[in-house]
């Protein structure tokens, strides 16, 4: 790979941050023998894939599959660094407003066409087009001409004119393009790693069309072969893949909507090669068996779960009460109901994002301090006589059948009762939860959770804690938290390209959130991934869900392993539906 010329400070800082994240070596790494070609890799997911059109695919399972079908100009590598992929190199101008990309030559789409700069521009415009149902075009609002293209601008007569093209994306020849921004934007490169802007085949055309997602076509290591909706997806090796010799696998078979217990049965029968949706007893089983332990690794948590307090509604407009609540919650106990999968975290920003600091001095569990905060809030409570405390009952809003609803809420309820806060639990369905928490003066407190949209700290503050995000309805800022210093710091950080300075700004944000306590933080939920011993070079990291680009199978070993499991078993004789 050729060196690309990021501003030096940014590049160095990213390296420094990544090294503290540290990644262990791939599962089943073999340096002694060359990788083998061939075989089908079988995986399953609990959820369904809704759509594979990169313009709209943003749910978890769809993202996981599209990672294998599409490549972007730039992507995160295994160390959470942004590296050029379809681009050969990229460059940022000194004012931070122009990004120049030089494309790799000879990259082929699944249909055989060569990737050109025109394809890149077409694909970006297709996603950001006014008629496209893309769920997150505003991620790209810093591209010059975005408003005129996406929303249209009013002309002299007051008529809305929509620009035919996105002016900021400029083709400079067959293999070169640059993107102009209307403002400095540190999140620009992170959002360029998302599938929304992945170059897609010419068959996709210039406008979003409904049917195209059923035969999605990109430049990734695997080509979509067939897709039986809600049942399975089959991908085959892309013969024209730009990295010679890769991928090693011939085929990927992806089963959809498979319950976790069925997945475990199938994994043990040898019908799945990989497991990621683990129930608590399965996890304990695989973690405690010395034969399985080396074959699994943790993905860093990509979510933060905590409690939001509506800071503009009684009684949690009282900052001391919020502090008391936050100090009364023992997150260790909350996390203990999902052993190892739930991890306590001191920060908003989860471990999967470079810059997460596990040693940050965040909110602390301290019952004494909590009682002191209660006194300062004006609700002194005596834990011995159980007199005093917050009068009345506060209502917690959560979602049924979730960790936050069924485990976190009842335990937090027990904990805050000890400092004199009576809490009642109210669980409503997802859509109602969103409607109620998004409304001003509707929800006092409840489950606060955020999952990474893209690996950048801004994603864990701007949409959920900034004044700008507050609306009377449909806001994501359920805490209705409005803090001028936080707003200022976030704005500054958003356009700060110098990584150490940017990291310092986000640390300040973490401090503000800790002290003002719009949220009590919290735990992060992480996934454990495990593979069979015949799977080699499987990498687990925070940037990819199931990364199969360099995985290979030892087919002889697989045959032997499955044979040993089933031929020693007398029941194999009466099994008419034998192993495929």
């Amino acid at each position: 790979m050729r060196l690309h010329s990021l501003p030096r400070a940014l590049a160095l800082a990213v390296l420094a941050l990544a090294s503290c994240g540290g990644r262990s070596s791939p599962i089943g790494e073999r340096r002694d023998i060359p990788p083998q070609r061939g075989g089908t890799f079988r995986v399953a997911s609990f959820t369904d894939v809704r759509n594979l059109d990169p313009a709209i695919a943003f749910d978890e399972a769809s993202k996981a599959v599209s990672e294998l079908i599409f490549h972007r100009l730039v992507e995160y590598d295994h160390h959470s660094r942004i590296v050029p992929v379809l681009a050969e190199s990229f460059d940022v101008s000194s004012d931070g407003k122009r990004y120049t990309f030089k494309l790799r030559e000879g990259v082929r789409f699944h249909d055989g066409d060569e990737l050109t700069a025109d394809d890149v521009k077409r694909s970006i415009e297709r996603t950001l087009d006014a008629s496209s149902p893309c769920p997150a075009p505003t991620f790209y609002s810093s591209i010059a001409g975005f408003d005129a293209f996406h929303n249209g601008a009013k002309d002299a007569q007051g008529k809305v004119i929509v620009a035919p093209h996105l002016d900021g994306v400029v083709v400079d020849g067959r293999y070169a393009l640059h993107i102009d921004l209307s403002r400095r934007d540190a999140t620009f490169l992170p959002v360029m790693t998302l599938d929304f802007v992945a170059p897609i085949c010419k068959s996709a055309g210039f406008k979003y069309a409904r049917e195209w997602g059923n035969h999605a076509c990109g430049t990734g290591p695997f080509r979509l072969d067939y897709w039986q909706s809600s049942r399975e997806i089959s991908l085959v090796r892309h013969e024209g893949y730009f990295r010679p010799g890769l991928p090693y696998l011939d085929r990927v078979q992806w089963f959809l909507l498979m319950p976790a217990l069925t997945q475990r049965f199938k994994f043990e029968e040898g019908d799945l090669d990989h497991l990621r949706d683990l129930r608590v007893p399965d996890l304990i089983h695989y973690r405690n068996d010395p034969r399985w332990k080396p074959l699994g690794q943790w993905e860093p948590a990509k979510t933060t779960t905590g409690v939001f307090f509506n800071t503009q509604m009684a009684p949690f407009d009282n900052v001391e009460l919020r502090r008391a609540f936050a100090a009364a919650v023992n997150w260790q106990e909350v996390a203990s109901t999902k052993p190892e999968q739930a991890q306590t975290t001191p920060e908003m920003v989860p471990p999967a994002i470079a810059g997460h600091d596990p040693s940050f001095p965040g909110q602390k569990y301290d019952p004494e301090a909590a009682l002191e905060h209660m006194r300062r809030a004006g609700f002194p409570y005596d834990p011995v006589t159980r007199k005093g405390g917050l009068p009345g009952t506060v209502r917690w809003l959560g979602i049924p059948q979730s960790f936050a609803g069924e485990s976190m809420a009842p335990i937090v309820q027990q904990q805050v009762a000890r400092i004199g806060i009576k809490m009642e639990i109210n669980l409503v369905s997802w859509p109602s939860f969103l409607a109620m928490t998004g409304k001003r003066n509707a929800a006092q407190l409840g489950y606060g959770g955020w999952a990474m949209d893209f690996p950048d700290p801004s994603d864990f503050f701007e949409p959920i804690l900034s004044t700008e995000a507050i609306q009377d309805e449909e806001t994501q800022n359920a805490a209705f938290f409005s803090n001028p210093e936080l707003d200022r710091t976030l704005k500054e950080a958003h356009s700060e390209l110098d990584a150490p300075r940017r990291a310092a700004l986000y640390r300040r944000c973490e401090e503000i959130v800790r002290d003002q306590a719009p949220w009590a933080i919290g735990v992060g939920y992480r996934y454990y991934e495990i593979v069979h011993p015949y799977v080699h070079n499987y990498v687990v990291d925070g940037a990819h869900t199931i990364d199969l680009r360099e995985v290979w199978l030892d087919l002889a070993e697989r045959k032997q392993a499955l044979g040993a499991r089933f031929h020693g078993d007398r029941l194999a004789l009466i099994r008419p539906w034998g192993k495929r």
């Binding site: 129930r279 608590v280 049924p400 069924e406 009842p410 335990i411 009642e424 409503v428 369905s429 109602s432």
Partner: protein, 293 residues
């Protein structure tokens, strides 16, 4: 109760066993929460949790082990008894009484109609078309609408939701039976003799529908106990930490391979309740059967 029926009931071993089980459950629901020393709402992180992080198996401290939040399973079973039995019994009672009334009226008046201009319709049509609409209406949507309309879920809401959505099926079955009975010889005869309708309904139809009602009732108790836990999945159940048998069963699902006691205890309790009510119902039916007297 008719003394002859009572003595028949007393002689029936199955019926007495059923009565015994039901009274045991009722006593358990009333007194067990007082006897069991543990708090059903308090997680025991010190003793209720295995080092690996699983719920603790049965022990002296926790005779039925602990649940996924490390709370005492016996205490929850005891507190849940009252809720579950109440919900199962009361929701079934609502469903049966409304369903039986609608079904008998519809079935008995079948074929009778009023003319209103070009339209002919009778009570049977009106009731049964209403039942059809109710049965075809998506349960989930209805539950969500009720959930959105209500500020909070209480036991009463659950009773109403379960009772008022389940009488529709009862009505259809009772109607079918009523149509059959209406055409039996003795009913036709008493009609021919000019008996008043309500007398026929009370004397002949109701006792003959009684058997089917008891069957529906006993089966429905089990279904209601389980349905309550499905409601909580649809966000209209009793909110945590309230323990009910159905919920305990569902909560235990995730870890049952490692902690089977989480399914066995509530499962056995539900089964016992169903068996008890079933035997009791069977005995009642036999004791009250008009043809045996």
């Amino acid at each position: 109760m008719d003394p002859r029926a009572l003595s028949r009931f007393k002689k029936n071993k199955g019926a007495m066993l059923g009565a015994g089980i039901v009274s045991f459950l009722v006593l358990f629901a009333i007194f067990a929460p007082l006897v069991v020393g543990q708090d059903p709402f308090e997680s025991d992180f010190a003793h209720g949790r295995l080092p690996v992080g699983l719920p603790a198996p049965p022990s002296l401290r926790h005779p039925l082990g602990t649940d996924v939040l490390y709370r005492d399973q016996l205490a929850r079973l005891a507190h849940g008894a009252r809720l579950s039995l109440e919900i199962g019994f009361a929701a079934s009672a609502i469903s049966l009484s409304v369903g039986a009334a609608a079904g008998i009226v519809a079935g008995f008046s079948r074929g009778r109609s009023w003319t209103l201009g070009p339209l002919h319709f009778g009570p049977d049509d009106l009731i049964m078309r209403f039942v059809d609409i109710g049965l075809s209406f998506p349960f989930l949507l209805l539950v969500m609408a009720i959930g959105a309309a209500l500020d909070r879920t209480t036991e009463v809401t659950i009773l109403l939701v379960l009772g008022l959505t389940s009488w529709l099926g009862t009505a259809r079955i009772v109607r079918a039976k009523t149509i059959q009975i209406r055409d039996l010889d003795f009913v036709v005869a008493s009609r021919a003799l000019g008996q008043r309708t309500w007398v026929i309904l009370l004397r002949h139809v109701l006792p003959n529908v009684g058997g089917i009602l008891i069957i529906l009732g006993t089966i429905s108790i089990a279904q209601m106990i389980l349905a309550e836990s499905v409601l909580s999945y649809l966000s209209l159940g009793l909110p945590p930490p309230a323990p009910t048998w159905g919920r305990m069963l569902f909560d235990g699902q995730e870890v049952y391979t490692a902690a089977p006691w989480l399914l066995i205890a509530p499962g056995a309790a539900i089964l016992l309740a169903v068996l008890g009510f079933n035997l009791l119902g069977e005995g009642l039916r036999d004791a009250l059967d008009p043809k045996d007297s």
